[in-house]
Symmetry: C2
Subunit: 364 residues, 2 copies
């Protein structure tokens, strides 16, 4: 419990989630006075020099951290990834067209539902037969579809694609990376579009990152209006309308922190250390069991349960006593979920693992 | 200049804009620790008890401040009012339908453009013939359209509807009140929908308020998918997807401040005092002239110019010296614009008026 003084609460929230404490400090100070300007970050114009610089820096940091190649645009837009579910078919599915999706859980299903409003959706693989406790593999990425869409990490179920599907024949691949972006290197060139709500590894709720291959836009034959046409946002560098200033600012600070810490490679090492420590305890202690296929275990969201559910109250009291928060599983699946995003210190995982061992000793 | 110590900068920004200093203080503190929870407002789950309470409080405050009648739902969604431009025809224009709009400036035109993607748009009145320097009056609200849409205050041009158009035959009336909501009482029952981006009188950029008459939804015959169907957001009380937590929180604080200050009536009195003081100086001093029709002058955004534009540099130096910021007109129209939203102290207007008088004395 020696780490408890260092961090008030061990926050395992699934998103919005823990961010680096230095980010909280800078983000708090800027609400009173942004960099000595005498103005709050909340009251400056989005067209002011300081904010234009913040937006540019955020985009440059994404480019650098993910090694985004030429020919891609980086956008920070308002709304969440759920708005992205709508923007994807609107911008990529041809009129009378067809798209392929994998259904690996709630958010993947929601993405499918939006696409069905625009045309035919071929669900090429689904994990629904086993309550989404695994990642379907070995399925084809069909040719002749306008795009293929998948969700790289499934926050609710705790599964994650370890090998990201790629297309061999040029079918545009689109990925919702909301809950594992910036946790490992990714070859952006494999994708037509990557999008991610900020509120996991990148920042607070309120903005969504889009990384878009420019040349694939504008091919649907659909009238897109203004706001839903990604090309307008690219043209205006995410300033087509007033962007969500503060969420973008805090995302920029968090991206800056990632870079200072050694970038995505360093994030991956830490992530593997956290996941190794926690899954190790789950596998070692007979009182606990993981809920997903081992090879598909998410390094972001570890889902597990007690083998004796009668002990849940006792276990809950123990982790709450240790200053742990947000460990309960999603209301739709129950059990436990330890969300271990980039900013979660290994020490917080050690606190949880200590609680688990002590609990096992007393109740085993 | 005695007020300068009280307020570091006199912020006339057109939005995002000044908010009350007590709001900045609370909003800054909550980034470090929300109400003694040990957690930052940026890292708590949107489904946590504290945030659910914040969202409920924000909605209750809107209901109270605007005296919203039964049968209306109040939503805080991600995205800006420009997303609202899209949501309006999507949710209200029937397939093969028709809507009526007035074109009173840039934002009204943008709203029209989105609607044109869905069906026929009848522009029943426009101020484009005189560079949007007045509000067209006396036009009919046509029957037989799915809805009538107008923009109550035109931020860029500095015009404002003093009498809000109402329908005598039940045509649904929809209003974009982004830049003057909460500055005066409004009879919500006259409207099918009112919407407003937060970043003027209500809060920071990143959320949009929707006040929606429930019974008028779901009549378009259009497949709306999930995210774009306002009924889904109503059903889930603005938690259909992760809401923009911090922008909603700061909006709640600002709404709370408005209530403490005496509500919308008090905001109106202050607004009239500010506008009276500034327009008084514009009319009194021959070096200045207002740019809009007098009867349509906005109490939120006062637009004016120098009668001798050769003196602009001298004037700019004078107001900057006095600690004034954000007085330049929108890049599309030039001149000057003093945005005087709810949180702008009368003292800030006095500082500007003093500068104008001194400038007139020296250069008159």
């Amino acid at each position: 419990m020696s780490t408890k003084t260092k961090q008030k609460v061990h926050n395992y929230s699934a998103g919005p989630c823990i961010l680096p404490s230095t980010v909280f400090e800078k983000a708090s100070a800027a609400v009173l006075d942004l960099d000595g300007s005498g103005l709050s970050i909340l009251e400056i114009s989005h067209r002011s020099k300081p904010f234009v610089a913040i937006m540019e820096k955020a985009r440059a940091l994404v480019k650098e951290l993910l090694d985004v190649p030429e020919g891609y645009s980086i956008l920070f837009l308002g709304g969440g990834a759920s708005t992205g579910f709508f923007l994807v078919p609107m911008n990529y599915m041809k009129v009378g067209g067809k798209a392929a999706y994998t259904d690996t859980g709630t958010w993947a299903s929601n993405a499918i539902k939006e696409a069905q409003g625009f045309g035919e959706v071929d669900v090429v693989a689904s994990s629904a037969d086993k309550d989404h406790t695994y990642i379907p593999k070995g399925h084809p990425i069909p040719s002749g579809v306008d795009y293929f869409h998948f969700t790289s990490n499934n926050t609710i179920y705790g599964t994650q694609y370890k090998d990201l599907p790629t297309s061999s024949d040029g079918t545009p691949v689109i990925c919702d990376m909301s809950s594992d972006i910036f946790s490992r290197p990714v070859n952006v060139a494999d994708f037509a579009m990557i999008y991610a709500g900020a509120q996991k590894n990148m920042g607070p709720a309120g903005t969504t990152l889009y990384i878009v291959k420019d040349e694939l836009l504008g091919r649907t034959g659909r009238s897109l209006g203004n706001m839903m046409d990604l090309r307008n946002h690219i043209k205006k560098e995410s300033m087509f309308n007033t962007p969500p200033v503060y969420p973008v600012y805090v995302s920029m600070l968090t991206l800056e922190w990632m870079k200072e810490q050694g970038g995505v490679k360093a994030m991956q090492e830490r992530s593997e250390a956290r996941a190794g420590l926690l899954y190790g305890a789950i596998d070692e202690l007979p009182l606990f069991e993981g809920t997903t296929a081992r090879e598909d275990r998410s390094s972001m969201n570890a889902t597990f349960r007690l083998t004796n559910t009668a002990l849940e109250e006792t276990f809950d009291a123990a982790w709450k006593e240790a200053g742990i928060s947000g460990l309960r599983g999603h209301r739709s699946v129950g059990g436990y979920r330890a969300s271990m995003y980039n900013a979660l210190p290994l020490e917080s995982v050690q606190v949880l693992v200590d609680v688990m061992h002590e609990f096992a000793k007393k109740n085993g």
